[in-house]
Amino acid sequence: DVKVTQSSRYLVKRTGEKVFLECVQDMDHENMFWYRQDPGLGLRLIYFSYDVKMKEKGDIPEGYSVSREKKERFSLILESASTNQTSMYLCASSPSQGQGLAEAFFGQGTRLTVV
């Protein structure tokens, strides 16, 4: 079974802290994604990566950065956490297939609260 594992299920951080959310996949997928999900707004893409050390901005990258030093690991970094970054964060991975992607596999999510 494909497994996408996020480092924490629940996280509480203080305003201004630097926060690291880690995601590891065990299926050698080229593509990895970070989303946040808020009620009524659906899944919004923050950043994605199609290869090691490669990253692309999604639709809402402000306030976030990412790191992909190894193929299996994709980290989301909140440089200085703010209360408006309180959300559910979801990581996903997907293999490349032809000119596009095959199905995406998601982690269990990290519910981050910034106080």
Binding site: L43, L45, S94, A104
Partner: protein
């Protein structure tokens, strides 16, 4: 800009009926479209993929259509059951950037006994 629209209102149906969910997209031409199911507090799970040259795809009680002229996909669940209650998300692909995967906001389905 690219836009994906799914009915934001919840769909309430009676057990045994067919549920039909809609996904509309504008300002791009996806090569294929994926549908996912999401249960509360969990990550989405892939259900079906349909390509632009396929009019219809089936998997057990699920049926997906893809009309590139109307820029619309319909997702049907026949003989619906309470266990089908969840939020269903569509993801037309590609969405602009290389391997960029974005989703509609999803439609919540509630199947009542």
């Amino acid at each position: 800009s690219q836009k994906i629209e799914q009915n934001s209102e919840a769909l309430n149906i009676q057990e045994g009926k067919t549920a039909t969910l809609t996904c509309n997209y504008t300002n791009y031409s996806p090569a294929y479209l994926q549908w996912y199911r999401q249960d509360p507090g969990r990550g989405p799970v892939f259900l079906l993929l349909i390509r632009e040259n396929e009019k219809e795809k089936r998997k057990e009680r699920l049926k997906v259509t893809f009309d590139t002229t109307l820029k619309q996909s319909l997702f049907h669940i026949t003989a619906s059951q309470p266990a089908d209650s969840a939020t269903y998300l569509c993801a037309p692909f590609p969405s602009g950037g290389y391997n960029k995967l974005i989703f509609g906001a999803g439609t919540r389905l509630a199947v009542h006994p």
